[in-house]
């Protein structure tokens, strides 16, 4: 469990990136911080592994304040997936994945064996292990980034807009893969994105942020869609438009769901229809 208590981050130039933010991130679930740029979501994420130090307030992991912990040891105990991978360009894939293990003193061969196993876990072919990051596609690099974060088997996984730079098809693939991994591994995941659909797809708990990391609403995707807490949330998640504002329409082939512009978005299926749907 990760807990933010009245966390504030003020930069020397006076901007309040985060203003009195409190949140409980339950263990073994995925919490998504979502907001537009300037909402401080990445700052919040980077506070968890002390890449950013809060100006005031405390962050606790399992009841222990991280301010007491050595930042380097803390970072090694937390998996971190960056946008664009952030891989070491001069190290082969296998050595990138083994980075944390090697830093922690695991013998080279053992670290590489483990790295190979993790490549299997994230669905990368072992033949890619000897390549350099620049020889991989964006989606493959992102998988290597996830593998690197998982190699030391951390309890916590931080993901900073990890799929922001890949094309929509690969993104959908990586999102599905993330859901599958989480079903197997049950990590405590904190995921940052500006894409509300991604947030609703991956999050058990979704935190919608306004400027200065003001919490607009916290809840499960269903709770938020069913009962947006404010105008801001309603417009941010788009309840008035697109595929989240649907009406039923009777057609000769049964009831369908249409959006505001009258386009059919789906078909209304009864419980007994499921087998044939």
């Amino acid at each position: 469990m990760i807990e933010f208590r009245s966390v504030t981050k003020t930069y020397p130039d006076g901007t309040h990136a985060v203003d009195d933010f409190s949140l409980v991130v339950p263990a073994h679930t995925t919490t998504v911080l979502v907001g537009s740029s300037g909402s401080g979501k990445t700052t919040l994420l980077r506070m968890i592994n002390r890449m950013v130090e809060p100006t005031s307030g405390t962050i606790e992991i399992d009841g222990e304040s991280i301010a007491e912990r050595d930042p380097v040891r803390l970072r090694r105990s937390i998996g971190y997936v960056l946008q664009n991978g952030g891989l070491l360009p001069h190290h082969r894939v296998v050595d990138n994945v083994a980075t944390v293990l090697r830093l922690e003193g695991t013998p080279k061969q053992q670290a590489r064996d483990r790295a190979m196993e993790v490549l299997d876990v994230v669905g990368l072919d072992r033949s890619l292990a000897t390549r350099y990051p620049s020889q991989l596609s964006g989606g493959q690099q992102q998988r290597v980034g996830v593998a690197r974060a998982l190699a030391a088997d951390p309890n916590i996984l931080l993901m900073d807009e990890p799929f922001g730079a890949v094309d929509p098809i690969v993104r959908a693939e990586l999102q599905t893969e993330t859901l599958r991994l989480q079903q197997e591994l049950h990590k405590t995941v904190v995921f940052v994105t500006h894409d509300i659909d991604e947030a609703f797809l991956l999050g058990d708990q979704v935190v919608i942020l306004e400027t200065g990391a003001q919490v607009a609403q916290i809840g499960s995707p269903s709770e938020i869609i069913e009962n947006p807490a404010s105008e801001f949330v309603a417009s941010f998640i788009g309840t008035e438009r697109g595929a989240r504002a649907l009406r039923t329409k009777e057609t000769g082939h049964g009831t369908v769901l249409v959006d505001a512009t009258g386009r059919t978005q789906g078909r209304l299926v009864g419980d007994d229809d499921e087998g044939t749907a």
């Binding site: 380097v72 070491l88 360009p89 001069h90 620049s134």
Partner: protein, 227 residues
């Protein structure tokens, strides 16, 4: 063209090989001055440059220093230091001048190499738990090596040319033949010595060019060839 023929003839003539200063000895002294000066300069400038690049501290001073040093007249510096050190310390004075001239390009190569590493790579290295020292040693230095070698390359070229001036203050190096040649109006000797210096410079430049290519890290080279 006669002058060139004479100059080349002088290079291979018996008096150049066994005069008061044999050519081979002058070449060795010239190279020794160059390498010792560049090595001393590197011992100072490389760690300093890495530190500036890594911490970002003292960057303005480093930029100003490497910029201003370009304007320093090398001949003036050599003569000034001989006067300051005293005529009995000509070797020390000249070497100091060469070291001072070699420091700025090496410093610039070292810090710009570290600075040129993509911020997200450094950020990623820190975020997975590398100490500051590990980030420098495992990421910034290896990735910045080509630019550092580039700095050493321009320092070496500058010094190998400037060591010629040592001929004015002492009877060493290939500059000696030029100074002596002007006095005795032996143009073949002047041009011959100048040609040898040119050959040294070109050969050194070539060696550094090869080295520069050799130190490009594998993964980075792979991307270049793919582009």
């Amino acid at each position: 063209m006669d002058l060139f023929a004479d100059a080349i003839a002088w290079i291979f003539s018996p008096e150049a090989q066994s005069g008061s200063l044999p050519l081979s000895e002058a070449i060795w002294t010239h190279l020794a001055f160059t390498f010792v000066s560049v090595l001393i300069a590197a011992a100072v400038a490389v760690p300093a440059g890495w530190l500036v690049g890594h911490t970002g501290r003292g960057r303005e001073a480093a930029v100003a220093l490497s910029g201003a040093a370009r304007a320093v007249p090398s001949f003036g510096l050599v003569l000034l230091l001989v006067l300051v050190f005293g005529v009995t310390h000509k070797v020390g004075a000249s070497t100091t001048a060469f070291v001072l001239l070699a420091i700025p390009p090496i410093l610039a190569g070292a810090y710009s190499g570290v600075e040129a590493v993509e911020r997200r790579v450094v950020d990623g290295a820190r975020a997975v738990g590398m100490t500051s020292r590990q980030v420098l040693g495992k990421v910034e230095i290896p990735l910045g090596l080509p630019l550092l070698i580039g700095g050493l390359r321009s320092a070496t070229l500058q010094v190998v040319a400037t060591v010629t001036l040592a001929g004015y203050v002492g009877s060493w190096g290939l500059g000696f033949y030029i100074v002596q040649g002007i006095q005795i109006r032996d143009f073949a000797q002047i041009l011959g010595a100048a040609l040898v210096i040119v050959v040294l410079a070109v050969v050194l430049d070539l060696l550094f060019a090869l080295l520069e290519r050799a130190v490009v890290p594998h993964g980075v080279a792979a991307r270049r060839s793919a582009d």
